[in-house]
Symmetry: C2
């Protein structure tokens, strides 16, 4: 089938989405054209607008439309504690807990040598500038508990220690609501070693 | 986190894609803005262009930019055989086999009472008009071998039988390259009943 040109282009363009291969892209294109042209147009506009308006907050590096994001500008937040997370989604998860009232710094990535992402490709230099504001006293490392996240936390901790700042890491341990029988051994071993 | 407005809009808009929930949409939006703004703009343009230019072929109902698609216009194809498929992707699969040189009719859907899709919501009426061109002698039903696809094939076969047209269905049986031990029982039973 010599497929029509603009459909081909759409299928190809959909493959820029993470986790979308050739078959998913074709299914998405078909769905949009056959059942949801309105949604396709909205998506087209939302993409163009987001690319045009979204930039990085000058203080915390997260996505924002303004020069400085609303979280950084909030006078009710405690400027002495700075929580370092990998992505805006991680920041949102922290916020949903309601347990943290300090500031954030969003790395927008993690160190991942296998993917060619080194310390200079995440916002490390910007973070080191950020903690020199004279107000930050504690940096809470809330990167993920994956190999990459742990590496990232370690590199940042080393860099900050050289500046005499107090760095902490989220506690590792048994998740709330879980039964020991079903928790993986590494987690139980960590929880035992870090018992309190 | 009071998330920025145009990012919210983008995440919401991405959810119009089939199989994309809130978390996937957020991950896609983050990926596009952080790593592939070029791809995001291309996708935006491809969506707008496809919605604007794609329409249905007047003869076979598939997507095309022209009034009649190139497959229907191809003089080398045999107009006496008409293959009925559910989607353009199914048509593409048939074409890749290289085993069929006739015409197509693309239903753009299947009968699915559970989803509220009846015979009038797929191109049944258009198909009945199409087969009255005086050239079609055999209608090959190549809808999927799912419950919905079988229902669709049955309904179409009944409608065509009333018009005295010869209808056939793709053979059911053991897939090429498979070992009986691993083939599901329903397939083996069908292959046995329809042995030749």
């Amino acid at each position: 089938m010599p497929a029509p040109h603009s459909l081909d282009t759409l299928v190809q363009a959909l493959r820029c989405l993470p986790g979308v291969g050739a078959k998913s892209a074709a299914r998405m294109a078909f769905h949009l054209l056959q059942r949801d042209r309105e949604g396709a147009l909205q998506l087209s506009e939302a993409l163009a607008r987001a690319v045009q308006t979204m930039r990085h907050c000058e203080r915390c590096h997260t996505f924002t439309e303004a020069q400085i994001c609303s979280t950084c500008l909030d006078p009710a937040r405690d400027p002495s504690r700075l929580c370092v997370v990998e992505t805006p989604a991680d920041q949102a998860a922290m916020e949903r807990t309601g347990a943290f009232g300090g500031m954030y710094f969003v790395l927008m990535g993690r160190i991942s040598p296998l993917d060619g992402v080194g310390p200079n490709d995440i916002g490390l230099k910007k973070l080191l500038d950020r903690v020199n504001d004279g107000l930050v006293q504690e940096v809470i490392l809330a990167t993920n508990f994956t190999a990459e996240g742990e590496t990232t936390a370690y590199v940042i901790a080393q860099a900050l220690k050289a500046r005499g700042l107090r760095t902490t890491r989220l506690a590792r341990g048994v998740p709330v609501g879980s039964e020991l029988e079903y928790v993986d051994l590494g987690t139980i071993a960590h929880a035992l070693a870090e018992r309190r």
